[in-house]
Symmetry: D2
C-alpha cells in the first residue's frame, strides 16, 4: 500500500536524523536557550531579511495558531478566516477554547481578498458583536491554492487601512511559495506574523513562528510556556530548523513535492479526468468515478474529499518530501488501466 | 563546563535515535494512528497491568498537566496542590489559563498527605469558593522527595472518601519509583490518572498520560487536539515510548540517575556538608558556603536554589541518563579541594 | 417620539414597583437565600408542574445563556444554533469567551428542526471538530417566529436519540407561548433547561433559568457565582418573579404584547404592505418604501432591519407590556397618510 | 431577629424607589443609552473631578472585578492581591475563570503596601511564572480596615515605578472613605480604575466602574457585553446612581453606617471586650466568649468569623443604610446583660 494521504506519513530528512545523532551528547540549556535554536533563528532572520523579527519554535500547527492568536487578541476580539480555514474547521475549536470567536467569509478557492473581507467588515457595527482584529490566511490553502505576491500585498494594505492584524499559517509554506512568486522577505514585510511548517516539510515535528510586528513580540514566550508549547529540550526543534534553513533545503523540499504533484496531475489529466480546483501545490483534488476510486483504494491510500455527483467524487492526493517518482508513475499507470 | 542543571541537557538514548532511523521511511497514519504508538501503548498497559487504561503520548509536562486537568474539571472546580507543586509555581499559570484555581496546602517536604489535605478540605464550605475536585501530586516531587507505596494508598483512600480525583505528575517518575517501593501497578490502582515522563528520562521529548478511571477516558483525545497537543507525526512519540518500555529501560534509567546522585550526595556529605532536604532521587540540594559555590561555578553549571543563611546557600544538582561517573567524581574532588 | 424599538424601553409593571416598596425594610438573607426568591421558585415549579426542577434567577439574557451553557459543556464540546441564533450574532462572542464553539445551521425562519440538525450532525465525524453537545433554540425566535408543541417534541426526541442536550432561550417566552400551543409543562418535559425572560416581559431586570435535567443541577449555583451572576440582593429578582408568576401575570403580558403587535400587523397589511416573515409574536417585520420609512422616523423610533430591494427595506416594530393602543393606532394612521 | 449579617439585607433608599416610580413610563434607549445613565455618569465625573474618566454601571461586585480585570490583562498576566482579598477568597475562582492567576501577599490588616508588594515583585524573575500586571486592593478591606490618602499615593507611586496597574475594589467605598481622609479626586488621580459599590450602600443593585487610565477605556463595553454584564434596561442602574450622586447622598450613607458601627464598637468595648482588628468602618470584629455568642444568636443574626481560643471567637457585625439606632442599643444592652 502506497500512501498519498498526507505529507506527514514518514519520518524526517536523513540530514536531520544525522544532526540529531551528531549533537546528542552535547549539553545545552533548556527551553530554547541552546546553540542550535539560536543558530536556527539567525538563519531564518537572514532568509527573511528582517533582523528584528523574533522566531519561536513549537511542536505543531494547531499549537502555532492558538499560541499566536491568543497572545495578540483582547478578550472581546475576533478572528476572520475563510470558511475553509484550518482553524475554523479542523482544529477542534482550539481558537474558541482560548475565548475568541472566528468570523467566516466564504471564499470559493479558500483565499481571502480585500473585497471578500469588506463584505464582512463593512457590516460589523457595534458592541453586540466581537471586535474583528486579526485576519487569518494559509499558504498554501486547505484547497491547495496559493497566494501571489500582489495578492498578499493587497491584503496587507487592506488590513493596515482597517487596523487589522494579518497572520499567515504556513503549515505548507514551502509548497505554497514554490507554486507562486512569494519570497521570504515578502512574508516579513506583508504580514504581522506567520509560521513556517516543518512537520509537513521534512522535519520530525516543528513549526517556526515568526513575529514581524515589534509590538507583538515582547512577552510571547510567556504565552508559549502557559499553553504547554515550550519544550524543555528545545534543542530538538533548533537542530531541525538549523538543517532546514541551511542553504535552500526548506524551499527545495517544497519544489520537490510540487514537482511530483504536478506529474500526478498531468498524468491524471491526460487520462481524461478533471479537478475540483486548480492546484500547483502538493495537494491535488482530481474527480474520479467512484468505481475507479474503489479499485485504486486497494493499492493506494488517500482521502475521498467530497462527492461531486452520483457517479463521481473528488479525492485528495498529497505528495511528501519522500514520495518516490515511481509511486507517482505507478498511480497514473493504474489509473489508466482502470478505464 | 559540566552541567548538573537538569536532566534535559542532552539528547536521547542511542537506542531511540537508532529506532527513529530504522523506521524513518515506513509510511504510517497520523495523529497517533500508527503502529509504533499502538505498540508503545500495549507495552505500557502490560507494565501497569491495566488493559483498560487509555494511554496518550504528548510533547511535554506542562502540556500533560494542563490537558488532563482541564479535561476532567467542571468550570467551577479547583485543583489542590502543595505550595511547591510544579503547576502552581513553574508553569506560568497554565492551569489558571484553562479557567481553574489551584488551592495550595503547605507541605514541608513537598508531599501531600490526608492530614494536610484535611486542613484545607475541612474548611471549604460553600459556593463562594470553587469546588475542590482534583488532588495533584508529583513523584518525585519538586524537592527531590518521593512517595512510598503506603503513602500513595493513604492519599488514594482519602481522595476516594471525599470524592476527589487523584492525579500524579510523573515528569521524574522513574527516579521517584526507584527511590522507594512504588510499582507500576500501584500507579494504575491508586490514581485516577498519571503521566510518565520521557523528556527527563532519556527521550528527545514526550510524556505518556495514563488514564485509569474509565469515566475520564472517552473524549480526552478531543481535548488533546483542542489544546494543540496532538502531533501529526505521533510516530515520533510512539517510537520513543516503545523503546523506553521494552524490557526495563525506563526504570533502569531512573536507577542509573539515582545511583549517580547518590554518589554525589555521599561525596558531598563525606566532605562535611549538609543538605536542605533528604533526597534519594536524581535531584539533590546540598548546602554550601557561597565562596565555595562561586568557585564551583567556574567549572560546573547548576542552580543556586535558595539562601540558607548569610554565608551559605542550597544548590540543586541533577543527574541525567547521560551523566558520567567521572563527572560526579570530579565534582566531589573539586569540592574537597575547596575546603 | 413613540418608540417601537424594543420591549425594554420602559420600567416595570406597577405591581412590581409596589412589591419592592412593600418589602423594602424587611431584612432577608443574601445571594438568593430570601423568602421572596423561595416563593418565586415554588410558583414557577408549580406552573411547570416539575417539583424537582431547580430555578435560578439572574440579571439578563446573555448572562442566562452563558452561565447555563458553560456549566454543562466539557471544554471540547460545542453548541449548535441557527445562524440567526442570538448567542451567535448578538452576544459579542459570550459563548466563545467561555471556550466553546457555536456551530451553525441555516434556518429560513430561525427555527431548528430534526431535519436541519441532521444536515450538520450527520457530517461530524471525528476529533478534528468539537463534539456537538447542546442544541440552542429561542422561543420566540430572533425573527419573531415561534415553536409549536409538536415541533418542540420532535426536536426533543431527536436530541434524545443523538445524546444532545436541548436548551431553550425564552427571553421572549411569554410572547412566543401565547402565539402558539406550547404550555409551561411542555417546557419542563421537552427541554433539559430553559429560561423565562423577565426583562422583556414587564420586569426591571431578571431571567429565570429552569433546569429540568437532574444531572445538570447540582453545582450550577457555583457557576453563577463564578461568572458574576449571583446578586447579593437576590431579593430584587425574587420579588419580581413572585409578582410575575402569581396568577397569570406572566403569560397575560405576552398575550397583551401579541395583541397589540397583531393590531399593528393588521393595520399595516390593510395599508397594502407585505412582511419579511410571518410573525404572531410581539416582533413584526413589515416591508416599507424607504421614503415612507424616513417620514415615519420623524415621529416613531424603530430599527431598519434589512434592505429588501432598491426602494424598500424591512423594519422591526416591537410592542411592550406598556405599549398603548393609541400608539399603535397613531402609527397605522400615519402610515396610511403616507401613501 | 435583628440582622447584623451584612449591608445587603434590606432593599433600597426610599429616594431610589421613588425615582424608579417617577420615571417608570418614560421610554429610553437600552444598554446604557438612556438619559439617567448619562446624568449619573456626569455626576460621578464631576465628583471625582476627572471629566475624561469613563464610567460603566454593572450589577454586582464580582462582576465589576472580573469584567475590569479580564479586560486589561494579556493572557499570561497575573493579579497581585492580599491573601484576604475578596477576589482570592470569596468569588469562586471568578478571576481564574477568565484565565488569570492571582498571586498573593500576606498582609496582617488586609492592606497592601509597597514594602509588601516588593517581597513578591522582587523575586519574580522569569517566564515560568505569569507576568504580574495589576495590583488589586479594596477599600474598606475585607477586614474592615481602610486606606489613608498617603498610603494610596505610596501604592500608586510604587505601581507606576514597576509598570503595574492599580485597581481599587470599592464595594464598601463610602464607608472606607468616611473612615479616613481619602477624597473622590484621590481615587481618580491615584488608581488606574476603581469601582464604587451601590449594592452595599443603599441601592437595590449596582456598582459604578470608573476607568481613569485612558489607555484602558476604549473597548471596555465590549467586554461588559461579552461577560453578560450589560443590562438591557440599563436605566435601572442609571436611575439609582443618579440618586446616589446627587448631593452628598453616597458618602453620607457611609458616614451613617460608620457612626452606628462606632456606637456598637464603643458599647462592646465598654462592656469589656476586645476586637480582632481595629476598624472604623461599618464592619467590626469583636471577640466574645462562645457562651455569650450562643445567647446573642437567639436574638441577632451575624457571622461567627473565626475562633480565637478555646473559649472565644471573633464575630462580624455589619451596619447598613437602614440599621436603626435602637437595634444597636438593644445589642449592647443584651451583651451587657450576658455578663
Amino acid at each position: 500500500m502506497i500512501s498519498f494521504k498526507s505529507d506527514y506519513s514518514e519520518g524526517a530528512l536523513p540530514a536531520i536524523l544525522k544532526a540529531l545523532a551528531d549533537t546528542n551528547e552535547i549539553q545545552q540549556g533548556g527551553y530554547g536557550d541552546d546553540d542550535y535554536t539560536r543558530e536556527a533563528i539567525d538563519l531564518i532572520r537572514e532568509k527573511i531579511n528582517h533582523p528584528q523579527a523574533t522566531v519561536h519554535l513549537v511542536s505543531g500547527g494547531t499549537q502555532a495558531n492558538l499560541t499566536f492568536i491568543s497572545s495578540v487578541l483582547r478578550p472581546y476580539e475576533s478572528v476572520i478566516a475563510a470558511t475553509t480555514g484550518h482553524i475554523f474547521h479542523h482544529e477542534t475549536g482550539a481558537i474558541e477554547a482560548t475565548g475568541h470567536k472566528i468570523e467566516t467569509v466564504f471564499a470559493q478557492d479558500g483565499k481571502l481578498s480585500p473585497a471578500l473581507l469588506a463584505t464582512f467588515i463593512d457590516k460589523v457595527a457595534y458592541l453586540h458583536m466581537p471586535l474583528p482584529r486579526l485576519v487569518y490566511i494559509s499558504n498554501s490553502t486547505e484547497l491547495g491554492t496559493h497566494y501571489l505576491r500582489a495578492e498578499l500585498i493587497a491584503l496587507w494594505e487592506y488590513c493596515q487601512s482597517k487596523g487589522l492584524l494579518l497572520f499567515l499559517d504556513g503549515a505548507r509554506l514551502a509548497s505554497g511559495m514554490q507554486a507562486g512568486d512569494l519570497r521570504y522577505e515578502d512574508l516579513a514585510k506583508y504580514t504581522d506574523a506567520f509560521y513556517m511548517g516543518g512537520t509537513k516539510n521534512g522535519a520530525l515535528i516543528g513549526e517556526a513562528i515568526v513575529i514581524n510586528n515589534p509590538s507583538l513580540q515582547e512577552y510571547f514566550v510567556y504565552n508559549l510556556k502557559m499553553r504547554g508549547a515550550l519544550l524543555a529540550k528545545g534543542r530538538l526543534l533548533g537542530i531541525q530548523f538549523r538543517e532546514l534553513f541551511r542553504g535552500d533545503t526548506y524551499l527545495s523540499i517544497g519544489a520537490y513535492m510540487n514537482e511530483l504533484a504536478g506529474k500526478l496531475s498531468a498524468g491524471i489529466r491526460e487520462a481524461g479526468y478533471e479537478f475540483l480546483i486548480e492546484s500547483k501545490t502538493n495537494q491535488i483534488f482530481p474527480i474520479l468515478p467512484r468505481t475507479i476510486i474503489a479499485r485504486l483504494e486497494q493499492k493506494y491510500a488517500f482521502y475521498v474529499w467530497q462527492p461531486v455527483d452520483r457517479e463521481r467524487a473528488a479525492i485528495r492526493l498529497v505528495t511528501s518530501w519522500n514520495t518516490a517518482t515511481k509511486a507517482v508513475e505507478a498511480f497514473v499507470e493504474d489509473l489508466r488501466a482502470c478505464r
